[in-house]
C-alpha cells in the first residue's frame, strides 16, 4: 500500500485529533487543574506557621525609657505578638510602634548571636569563657599598672540593679568613670537641684492637668513615656475645659494635636517663658501667699522680669505676638491645674538650664509645683540597699581621681558629661580611657558630631560592647559580650520618664534565649569573681537572679505578679523654691553654631526610633514617603524659604553645616517657620539590617555639641545651615 502525502496528512491530523480528544476526555486535565490550585498555595517558600498551645507572658518593655507593660502572646515556645498590658500603671493596654516591633528585634538578622571578637577587622565567634578571660586579663593588667580609673563605662541608665552592679564593679575596681548618656532627664535634674536645692527627678501629674503649656515638648511625638503621654493627650481632648498649647517652630504632631500652635523662633523659648512670667507678675496673677511662704529670691526675680522681659521686648526676640504672649499668660494663670513643661521633641538631648529653670519658675509662680496636676520632684526609687563596695588601696586611690568627663567639677550639679568624654579623649595623645564598657547606648550614632565621636572611639584601645544588636558603636568595639534582649532577660526597670511616684517595673524573660547570649548582670558577677580580693568580695551573689531577688526582698512577689511596684511611701521633696539661680543665670542661652542664614533643627517622630536601637523593619515601613524615598531623606522647608533658594517639592539638595554635609531632598511644608530647615532624627544608620542601614542621613553628623553655660551638657538644639540645589 502506497502512502501518499494526502493520506499521511489525514492520518497525522486524525491521530493528533484522536490523542487530543482522548486526553481532553480523560481525567488527566481535571486532575492537573485541580492540583494546580493546590500547588499554588503550597509553595515551599511560603511559610506555614505551626499551631500550638497559646500562652501569655507579661514583662516590661525596655526598648525606650517609657517602661510600658507588655504582654507577649506565645504559641508553644515562639513569641507571636507583643501587646500592651491591660491595667498597667504606665500604658494600660496601649503600646507604641517600637514596642510592637520588638519581635523583629528578637528574631531579626541584627542580633549578635554569640560572643564575638574582632580579628583583623572581622568578627569571629569565640566562647564565653575565652571572651571573659580575655577581658579579665586586661582588667588585671590595667589595675597592675595602677590606672584603674582608665576603665570606663558608657551606659544608657544609671538606675536599677544592672547599672548599679556595673557601677559597683567600677568602684571596687577603682574607677569613678561610670558615664550615663545624656537627655532632658539631666537638665531637669540640674534645674531642680538648683531651684529646690535637692537632687530629684521630675514627675508630671498630666492626668490631672487642665492646661499644659509645652515649650516644644513632643507630648504626641514620644516625649516622656510615650504611651502615657498619648493617653494623657486623649484625656485632655475628652474635656472641653482642658487644653494643650504647643510652643514650637514647626507644626509637629504635638502642635497639630494642640489647641494652639505658637510658632516661636527656635532657641528663644526661655525668653518667652520669662515674658509670660512678666505678664503673670505684672498682672498679679501669681500665687502670692505660696511665693511668700515657700520661695526666696522672688523680689530679684520680679525686678529682673519686669525690667527685661516686657511683652514688647519678648515679642521682638521670640517672634510671638505681644497679644499672644499676654493671652498665653492669662490662660496659664487662669487655669486651675496648669503645668508648663519643656525639653524639645522626645527630650533625647539636654536643653538650656536657663530655659528649664524659667519654665519651672512658671510652675512655681502659679502653684503647680508639687501640686495636683502639676510637677513633682520625685526622689529616685530607693530599693537597692547594698553594703558599700569594698575598696582596696588601688580602688580607694583610683576612685578619688577626677572623672574623665570632668563632671561634678566645673559644673558641680552635673553628674555626667558624656560630650566632654569625647573631647578629653580627642584632645590628648593617648586616650585616657584604656578600656570602655558600653551598655544600652549607641553613642557612635546618637551623639552630635558623629565623626568626632567615632574618632574618639577609634582611639580607645579596648572597647567591650554588651549590645544584643550590631549597632554603630558595637561595630567600633573589640569584643562583644551580647546581652539577652529585653524579651529574654530578667531585670528591674526603674521608670525614669516623668511619673509622679517612683515606680519600678520588672522585665521578665518571656522566652528562652534565642542565641548564645548571656545576661550582663551575670557577666559582671562572673568577672568580679575572676578578679581577686576586694572586687570578688564585693559581689557576694552567685548569679544575677539571686542578686535581684535578694535586693528586691519582699517587693519581688508584687513585682513578679503585677510587673511593677510603686513606692507609695516616697514623698516629694518639699524644698523652698529659690529664684536666685535663675536670676543669676539670666540669658544664659544656647546659641546655634555657624553663620549661615538658615537654621537646621531636628525633629522626632514615633515612627523613627532615635535611641540606641535602630528602627525595626515594621516601623521603617510606616515612614512616610515625604520623609524617606528610596535612600533619600527629605528635609522640611517652608515654601516661602524654598522659593528663595529656588527649590521645589522633591528637589535634590545639599545641606551644609560647619560639621558636615548631607544629600537630601526637599519637602515643602507650610507647617514650618520660614528660615528653618527641619530634618528627621533616626535615619542614616550605617549598621543594623538592610531594612535600615544606608537609608537617609544621620542628623547628628550635621550638628556639633554646644555646651550649655550652666550645666556643661551639650544643649545644641540646631545649627546654622546652607542649602543648595543639586
Amino acid at each position: 500500500m502506497k502512502i501518499d502525502r494526502r493520506d499521511f496528512l489525514s492520518l497525522g491530523i486524525g491521530a493528533a485529533a484522536g490523542i487530543g480528544a482522548g486526553t481532553a476526555l480523560s481525567p488527566l486535565p481535571w486532575k492537573l487543574i485541580d492540583d494546580s490550585s493546590i500547588w499554588s498555595q503550597n509553595w515551599p517558600w511560603t511559610p506555614v506557621p505551626p499551631d500550638g498551645a497559646v500562652s501569655f507572658k507579661n514583662s516590661v518593655c525596655t526598648l525606650c525609657p517609657g517602661g510600658c507593660g507588655i504582654t507577649v502572646r506565645k504559641v508553644e515556645d515562639r513569641c507571636i505578638k507583643i501587646e500592651g498590658t491591660k491595667g498597667n500603671i504606665v500604658n494600660n493596654g496601649g503600646i507604641c510602634i517600637l514596642g510592637l516591633s520588638g519581635l523583629q528585634l528578637l528574631y531579626g538578622p541584627t542580633r549578635v548571636k554569640a560572643p564575638m571578637k574582632k580579628d583583623g577587622g572581622r568578627w569571629k565567634e569565640i566562647s564565653w569563657d575565652s571572651a571573659i578571660d580575655e577581658i579579665v586579663k586586661r582588667l588585671k593588667n590595667i589595675r597592675k599598672e595602677g590606672k584603674p580609673e582608665s576603665v570606663a563605662c558608657v551606659s544608657g541608665t544609671d538606675q536599677g540593679t544592672v547599672a548599679q552592679l556595673i557601677g559597683r564593679f567600677l568602684t571596687a575596681y577603682g574607677s569613678p568613670n561610670y558615664i550615663r548618656t545624656s537627655s532632658i532627664a539631666d537638665s531637669y535634674e540640674i534645674a531642680l537641684k538648683k531651684l529646690h536645692g535637692q537632687f530629684s527627678s521630675i514627675g508630671f501629674d498630666f492626668e490631672n492637668s487642665d492646661f499644659v503649656l509645652s515649650f516644644g515638648s513632643g507630648v504626641a511625638d514620644g516625649w516622656g513615656s510615650p504611651v502615657r503621654m498619648f493617653k494623657a493627650n486623649s484625656k485632655w481632648k475628652d474635656s472641653k475645659d482642658k487644653a494643650l498649647y504647643q510652643i514650637e517652630s514647626r507644626l509637629s504632631n504635638t502642635a497639630a494635636k494642640a489647641d494652639k500652635w505658637i510658632a516661636i523662633i527656635p532657641g528663644t523659648e526661655a525668653i518667652l517663658a520669662m515674658g509670660i512670667a512678666n505678664v503673670i507678675i505684672q498682672k498679679s496673677l501669681y500665687k502670692k501667699k505660696l511665693i511668700e511662704k515657700y520661695s526666696k529670691g522672688f523680689n530679684n526675680f520680679k525686678a529682673l522680669v519686669l525690667k527685661e522681659y516686657s511683652p514688647e521686648k519678648v515679642s521682638k526676640i521670640t517672634g510671638v505676638k505681644k497679644s499672644e504672649i499676654i493671652a498665653i499668660a492669662k490662660k496659664f494663670a487662669g487655669a486651675s491645674r496648669p503645668v508648663a513643661i519643656c525639653g524639645s521633641g522626645q527630650g533625647r538631648t539636654p536643653g538650656s538650664i536657663f530655659e528649664f529653670m524659667a519654665v519651672h519658675a512658671l510652675n512655681a509662680l502659679i502653684g503647680s509645683v508639687n501640686n495636683i496636676g502639676g510637677v513633682f520632684s520625685v526622689p529616685e526609687p530607693d530599693y537597692i540597699k547594698w553594703t558599700e563596695a569594698e575598696k582596696d588601696d588601688v580602688a580607694a586611690k583610683g576612685i578619688k581621681t577626677d572623672r574623665i568627663d570632668g563632671a561634678g567639677k566645673k559644673y558641680p550639679d552635673t553628674r555626667y558629661l558624656i560630650n566632654r568624654l569625647i573631647d578629653s579623649i580627642n584632645s590628648t595623645g593617648d586616650s585616657p580611657v584604656e578600656l570602655l564598657f558600653v551598655n544600652g547606648a549607641n553613642p557612635c550614632y546618637t551623639m552630635p558630631d558623629t565623626e568626632n565621636v567615632i574618632k574618639a572611639f577609634k582611639k580607645i584601645p579596648y572597647i567591650v560592647s554588651f549590645s544584643s544588636y550590631f549597632d554603630e558603636t558595637t561595630e567600633m568595639a573589640d569584643i562583644i559580650l551580647p546581652n539577652h534582649t529585653n524579651l529574654e532577660r530578667l531585670e528591674d526597670i526603674p521608670l525614669a520618664a516623668g511619673l509622679i511616684k517612683p515606680v519600678v517595673g520588672l522585665s521578665m524573660p518571656v522566652v528562652e534565649p534565642e542565641c548564645n547570649t548571656r545576661h550582663i548582670g551575670d557577666v559582671f558577677i562572673q568577672m568580679a569573681k575572676l578578679m581577686d580580693g576586694n572586687i570578688k568580695a564585693s559581689f557576694p551573689w552567685n548569679n544575677y537572679e539571686e542578686c535581684l531577688k535578694k535586693t528586691l526582698g519582699d517587693k519581688w512577689d508584687k513585682l513578679a505578679r503585677d510587673g511593677y511596684w510603686v513606692d507609695e511611701n516616697s514623698r516629694a521633696s518639699r524644698g523652698i523654691f529659690d529664684f536666685t539661680p535663675l536670676v543669676k543665670n539670666n540669658r544664659n542661652l544656647v546659641k546655634p553654631e555657624g553663620k549661615s542664614k538658615l537654621t537646621l533643627i531636628p525633629y522626632d517622630s514615633m515612627r523613627l526610633t532615635v535611641g540606641y536601637i535602630g528602627d525595626p523593619p515594621f516601623a521603617m515601613k510606616t515612614v512616610e514617603d515625604t520623609i524617606l524615598k528610596g535612600n533619600d531623606v527629605f528635609v522640611e522647608i517652608n515654601p516661602k524659604t524654598a522659593a528663595d533658594y529656588n527649590l521645589s517639592e522633591g528637589d535634590k539638595a545639599r545641606l551644609t553645616t560647619s560639621k558636615g554635609k548631607a544629600k537630601v531632598r526637599v519637602h515643602l511644608y507650610d507647617g514650618i517657620r520660614p528660615g528653618i530647615v527641619a530634618m528627621p532624627r533616626g535615619l542614616g544608620h550605617t549598621e543594623f539590617d538592610e531594612y535600615l542601614a544606608g537609608k537617609g542621613e544621620n542628623f547628628n553628623k550635621l550638628i556639633g555639641p554646644v555646651e550649655d553655660p550652666v550645666s556643661g551638657l551639650d544643649a545644641a538644639w540646631g545649627i546654622q545651615a546652607e542649602i543648595t540645589k543639586t
Binding site: W45, T46, I95, C96, N253, E514, M606, D670, G671
Partner: protein, 268 residues
Amino acid sequence: MKVDTKQKKFGMAIDLDKCTGCGSCMVACMSENNVPFKKDETNKLDSITWIKVYKVTNDKKYPDTDLCYIPRPCMHCDGQHGHAPCVSVCPAVATDNDKSTGVVSQIYTRCFGCRYCMAACPYHARYFNWWDPVWPEGMEKYLSPNVSPRMRGVVEKCSFCFHRYQLAMDKAYVEGRRELREDEYQTSCTQACPAGAITFGDLNNPKHTVHKMVQPDNKHHGKPKNPKAFRLLERLGTNAKVYYLSDRKWVRKLGDNQTPNEESSKKH
C-alpha cells in the same frame, strides 16, 4: 439558652482629634496579620499596609496650617444593597460581605489575582502581593498560626482581625455562650492604639460604645446621626462601617468631595 440571631455589624469609630499619627495601629496590624515587608518600603504604591495612616493638611499657609492623620483600615463597605464595591466585582467569589458580622472577607487561596477589586475600591484598602513574601532567616518564627501568610499574586486587605472573632466565638461556645462581650472581640489596631483613638464594636448594638459614638442611622444606610461623625466618601454610597470623628470642620469636610457650586451655595 437564648440564642440571639440578630445580625451584627462590626464597625469602627476613629477619633481623629486623638490620633497622633504614631503608627502603632499599622504595626499592630502587620504583626497580628503576618504582613510581609521588603527592603525598600518607600514606594507606598506597592507597600502592604492594611491600615494606612494618611497625613492631610488644611492647605493653609504658615502659620494657619493644621494637619490631621486619618488611619484608614478597610472600610468594610455595605454598599446600598449589601454589596461592597469590591465584593460584587470579584469574579471568583474570593471576597464576601458576611451577613452575620458585616465583615468583608478575603479568601487568599481563592483569589487568582485579577485585581478588579482593587480597581473598585476608592479607599486603596486592597493590596496586591507583587512579590513572594520573604522573611529574613529566623524571623518567620514570630508568624502567627491564626492568619495564613499569603502567596504572591493574590490580593489581601484588613479583615477586622476576623480570626480574633472566630477565636472569641470558639471560647464563648466552649463556655456555653452564644454572645460575645464587647471587649472580647477587638481588632489589633484598636487594642494597640496608645491614644485610645479607635473604638470597635457592633454598630447594631446600642449598648456598644461605637454605636453610641456615631449613632448610625440604619434607615439611611448607616449615616451617622452624630454631627461630629462622618465617613470617607459618604456620597459614593459605599456605606462604610468605619466612621471618623472630629471637632474640626476642615477635617470633616475633607472626608468627602464637594463641587465648588455646592460650597458657594452653602455660603449664601
